[in-house]
């Protein structure tokens, strides 16, 4: 069996850095595609030639919703906002929108990444830019 190099960045790596406030993407050194890890082959060109790239965390809301009927584990949080954010570097990312009144959410709103930390769990959040 041929030896294969380790993935450039794993989910664990990504969320450890996210917890510190830094979003990390991967850039295909063959075609320039920038993506959110983990991925082995580039979905754009098929090569396996990723390099880590720091992302600014800045982006724009493409679409959003306010969850009012929540899953059991989140029932105490409802209502809360989730947005699809297009990052300035290109990739899209879902996140909770924090610090924006629910009736002030809008498509096109500029936001910036802020980690959402709940004990051991880190997830993606955004606040107004």
């Amino acid at each position: 069996m041929k030896a294969v190099s380790e993935p450039v960045i794993t989910l664990k790596n990504f969320f450890e850095r996210a917890r510190e406030g830094q979003l990390t993407g991967i850039r295909c050194t063959a075609c320039g595609e920038i993506a959110i890890p983990p991925k082995e082959f580039c979905p754009a060109c098929g090569k396996r030639a990723w390099a880590p790239v720091p992302l600014s965390g800045e982006g724009t809301i493409d679409s959003f919703t306010v969850i009012r009927v929540a899953p059991r584990s989140f029932a105490g949080d409802a209502p809360y906002a989730i947005a699809h954010v297009r990052l300035v570097e290109g990739p899209g990312l879902l996140g909770r929108v924090l610090d924006v009144p629910l009736d002030r959410l809008s498509v096109g709103l500029r936001v910036t990444f802020r980690p959402l930390i709940a004990s051991e769990q880190t997830s993606v959040g955004f606040v107004p830019a």
Binding site: R68, P71, A78
Partner: protein, 384 residues
């Protein structure tokens, strides 16, 4: 590939049941075998759809369980899980097994039970079909997924909440004509608009219900179908996937997996959207129907809402969509849904749909979507 035909179909009433998913599937399968005139001992394989059995019934290995309850414990069974598209994916694999000459008689179906748990629990279990690391941790729900799609479609094309409501009103009307539908009452656009918000801009009446139910389809080779007047032919059965993460999608107003699966299904059947007389598609939410009618090529991108509002997708319209009542009114026992959609199209093409019959239907399309739009199956069926 050999030609494949549907010889029999069966569906339970959808709604709340006090029986397990395996029992519900078995009831539908008895009906399908009787409809086909096929004896249980003739069945050579079972492909089975079941999604949240591990959660709501604490039951894995549901394929052989379903076969055992039906009374055909000896056949090879395969459970397929592609979220809400499970029994349509099962159908496609059964078509391939017969087409490849491995078997001549294959049973396909699904069963699901969710109304034995609370809405909060089932909302959580359904959300397991979104990504555990990136999406479930946000508290994303399936109404939330389609709310994001709805907002993107409204922003890009100006689609309105009233147009979405028109889909619900239409499918509820169709449901009144289907005795096995979970809901058999008319609703109005005003009722939809006034219903409580679930995930803005989706309201309660934009959403299909949680349902228990079972469905089954008997597939056979051409040799066995020959001379059987009520046989309905599988013209093609295709599938496509897309990125698992909603974040990775470039344009939330579209479902690329629907577009790819439809292109493959039309190509393999040698026909196009203009040839389709009747459609059963995946209206888990009203916006899902609008986006699907566009992705299947029935209407141009951005005009699916207008089509619903103008009645073009109603019984008697240009292309009747979801004459069964769809997931919205017929109900959505997720593992059984694809097989139930096939059953409706077969019934329509046989001319046996009674008050909801689409006159003269010769070619029908079945579209089933799974998860965050990451799985889509499209099949075309036709009368000889």
């Amino acid at each position: 590939m050999r030609r494949v035909a549907v010889l029999g179909v069966g569906v339970t009433k959808f709604g709340k049941h006090d029986r397990t998913s395996g029992e519900l599937f078995a009831e539908a399968a008895v009906e399908a075998l009787a409809d086909a005139g096929i004896e249980p001992r003739q069945v050579q394989a079972l492909y089975y759809g079941n999604v949240v059995g591990g959660e709501t019934e604490k039951q894995l290995h549901t394929g052989p369980q379903a076969a055992s309850i039906l009374g055909i414990p000896g056949v090879p069974t395969t459970r397929i899980e592609t979220a809400c598209a499970s029994s349509h994916a099962a159908f496609r694999h059964a078509v391939m097994e017969i087409g490849a000459g491995v078997s001549d008689v294959v049973l396909v179906g699904g069963g699901e039970r969710v109304l034995n748990v609370t809405t909060e629990e089932s909302t959580e279990y359904f959300a397991y079909a979104s990504d555990a690391t990136w999406e479930q941790t946000l508290g994303l729900t399936f109404p939330g997924v389609f709310a994001l799609i709805a907002r993107a479609h409204m922003t890009k094309y100006g689609t309105t909440e009233e147009q979405m409501a028109a889909v619900a009103v239409k499918n509820h009307h169709h449901g009144t004509l289907n005795p096995k539908a979970q809901f058999q009452k008319e609703i109005t656009v005003e009722q939809v608009m006034r219903s409580p918000k679930v995930a803005d801009p989706l309201k309660l009446y934009d959403c299909c219900p949680f349902s228990d139910g079972g469905a089954a389809v008997v597939l056979v080779s051409e040799d066995i179908a020959r001379g059987r007047r009520r046989a309905i032919w599988v013209l093609s059965s295709a599938a496509a996937s897309d990125f698992m993460l909603l974040g990775d999608k470039r344009d939330l107003s579209r479902v690329p997996a629907t577009e790819r699966a439809a292109a493959a299904a039309y190509r393999d059947a040698g026909c196009g959207p203009e040839d389709v007389d009747v459609v059963e598609l995946h209206d888990c939410f009203t916006m899902a129907e609008i986006v699907a009618t566009e992705g299947l090529g029935l209407f141009e991108a951005g005009t699916g809402g207008v089509a619903a509002e103008k009645g073009w997708t109603s019984l008697g319209g240009k292309v009747p969509v979801n004459p069964s009542g769809g997931l919205k009114a017929k109900g959505h026992p997720i593992g059984a849904t694809g097989a139930a959609q096939v059953a409706e199209i077969v019934t329509q093409l046989r001319g046996e749909a009674g008050p909801r019959q689409v006159d003269g239907a010769r070619t029908g399309l079945v579209h089933t979507l799974g998860g965050n739009t990451a799985t889509v199956c499209v099949s075309l069926l036709g009368r000889e």
